[in-house]
Amino acid sequence: MIKCENIKKIYKNGDVETIALKGVSFHIEEGEFVAIIGPSGSGKSTLMHILGALDVPSEGEYILDGKKVSKMNDDELSQLRKSKIGFVFQSFNLLPRTTALRNVMLPLLYSGIPAKEREIKARKALKYAGMEENKFLNLSNQLSGGQMQRVAIARSLINDPAIILADEPTGNLDTKTSQVVMKTFQELNAKGHTIILITHEEEIADYANRVISIRDGVIEKDITKKK
């Protein structure tokens, strides 16, 4: 499903070149739950941006679901993100002063799907992500951290994406809420969703079935746990 071949990413800032990724190759199959772990500055965020089609590699080939992402333009990337990738961010990134339901419907904007159907989908996704039904119409700023992350997870699910990409999803949550959120991801994985988790915490990475460790722009370890 995901093929990364010798991906390099070089940032240029004036005359200074920073090499964030020095040639990374791996495959991820459908239904996997992969954690990409590494300290800050390891290049894991850069890798996440490339996997999430938010950025393109400087060199190398990234193929998602049979599509070559490396050569796409801005609008093609948008289209790809919309149809194939669900994002869960560390800082939730919900629309402020907007109901949970409308936040979840955001990726369906301009999709041509009738409003009724959107709402049905969004309600389903929220329930699926474990959100209590009486909170559906609460404004995003009235929700707790755990609830906000559930809304974000529901939002990532709404387009039925090929992969769910979670960038430090527990970074702003306490331990107990973190556990609940990670359990949610495990449940989603059990239902067949492909999940890629980016984190720097070992114990969070433990929830995944496969852990790819990155350091200084190269893969250090790639361990698949036995089920």
Partner: protein, 405 residues
């Protein structure tokens, strides 16, 4: 697609009422102040113009020229060269003349029982009413008979009546004393509104013969008012009067004429240049308000978009295409400026009418061009500064936009 766009715009504006409200307020104040300023200016201009009109219509005034003795020139109008006979000749020999009214005017102290005032005494004939657009409120103007017999009768202007007898009192039949001579009041003129230094309401009219016999003591007139039948014949009438008086006064060189002819159009053109200056003043005030308003709108829009860069990043990250983000911000800017614009026009309208209501001498007039200008400038400022930064933000990579603080 369009319903999505409209819904997003609505939600986004209504979701942040304070922000939207302040932006709209800025626009409202900008537009309303420009409209009000311009309409007050327009009203002032109109009231000056109508005051000039009220002096009389198609009026030509013949005044004596300057007298000079041993090469020392006195001021214009100081000479005593015009007579009643000149006025009669004008009336008799020039066509296209509706009314000819010679007048003798001077200020005197006037007394009644208990009151006194100092005002203009105008000795004239009944044609004066026609020439100067004066209407009677009460009683009647003096007749030709009374003029012939130098009757001691007087007609009061409404202000003069108020000063001498009190507002609303009917003075007909009462006596007033001018220069120690008693005159009987026979009428009161209708109030006309001020028109410069010689206020027709603050005058007392007496027969011209009586003014000459009892007050001035000589045969010369201060000026002759001539009303032409219409606007188009004024130039012609003026020229004929000029020829006639040159002949009568036996002057061959027109440059040495002992009289001046003033045309109401000259007065109007002088006044127009005054109101022109006035308009420039008001336009600059309006321009400054527009600039200040525009900067306010610009600030509000720029802050709003900067604040929302993360939101733009999120929209991009979840796959909303750039064009839709651009369109949404454009729609928001358009909605805000048009909403603000509409309220601004209404507020400006109310303010202008309030000014007309409280300041009776000024009837503010809303000019369409001011409305369009104010609306146009603030709308374009609002749209440019609401849309342009949003466009820039939408062109950013979503990662950058999401990290934006």
């Amino acid at each position: 697609m369009i319903t999505d766009l409209l819904k997003e715009t609505f939600w986004s504006l209504s979701g942040n009422k304070v922000r939207s409200g302040l932006t709209i307020l800025g626009i409202v104040i900008g537009i309303a102040s420009v409209i009000t300023m311009v309409s007050i200016g327009q009203g002032a201009k109109n009231s000056i113009e109508s005051n000039i009109e009220s002096i009389g219509s198609n009026l030509i005034i013949v005044m004596p020229g300057s007298s000079h003795s041993s090469n020392v020139n006195q001021g214009r109008g100081s000479a005593q060269t015009l007579t009643i006979e000149d006025a009669d000749a004008i009336k008799a020999s020039i066509k296209s003349v509706k009314a000819v009214a010679p007048e003798v005017s001077k200020r005197y102290q006037i007394t009644t029982k208990g009151n006194n005032t100092n005002t203009q005494i105008i000795g004239t004939v009944s044609d004066y009413l026609i020439a100067r657009n004066i209407a009677m409120d009460n009683g009647s103007f003096f007749s030709d008979m009374q003029i012939k017999s130098s009757a001691k009768v007087a007609v009061l202007g409404s202000t003069a009546r108020d000063d001498l007898f009190g507002a609303g009192v009917n003075p007909i039949g009462q006596t007033i004393r001018i220069n120690k001579i008693d005159f009987k009041v026979v009428g009161v003129t209708k109030a006309k509104g001020g028109s410069g230094f010689s206020n027709p309401d603050d005058s007392v009219y007496v027969p011209i013969s009586s003014a000459m016999h009892f007050l001035s003591g000589d045969d010369y007139v201060s000026d002759i008012s001539v009303a032409a039948v219409d606007q188009s014949s004024m130039a012609d009438v003026q020229e004929q009067i000029n020829q006639l008086l040159l002949n009568r006064h036996k002057i061959s060189d027109a440059g040495l004429a002992d009289f001046n002819i003033m045309n109401q159009n000259d007065i109007i053109s002088a006044a127009t240049s005054v109101t022109g200056t006035f308009t420039i003043l008001l336009s600059s005030i309006a321009g400054i308000s527009l600039l200040v308003g525009g900067i306010g709108i610009m600030n509000m829009m720029l802050t709003t978009v900067t604040e929302r860069t993360r939101e733009i990043g999120l929209r991009k990250a979840v796959g909303v295409k750039r064009i839709y983000i651009n369109l949404q911000f454009l729609a928001e800017a358009v909605a805000l400026t048009f909403l603000g614009g509409a309220f601004g026009v209404i507020l400006g309208w109310i303010a202008s009418h309030a000014v007309s209501y409280f300041v009776s001498s000024l009837s503010a007039e809303i000019s369409l061009s001011a409305v369009l200008l104010a609306f146009g400038v603030s709308a374009s400022v609002g749209i440019i500064f609401g849309f342009y930064p949003a466009r820039k933000a939408a062109a950013m990579s979503p990662i950058e936009a999401l990290r934006y603080e």
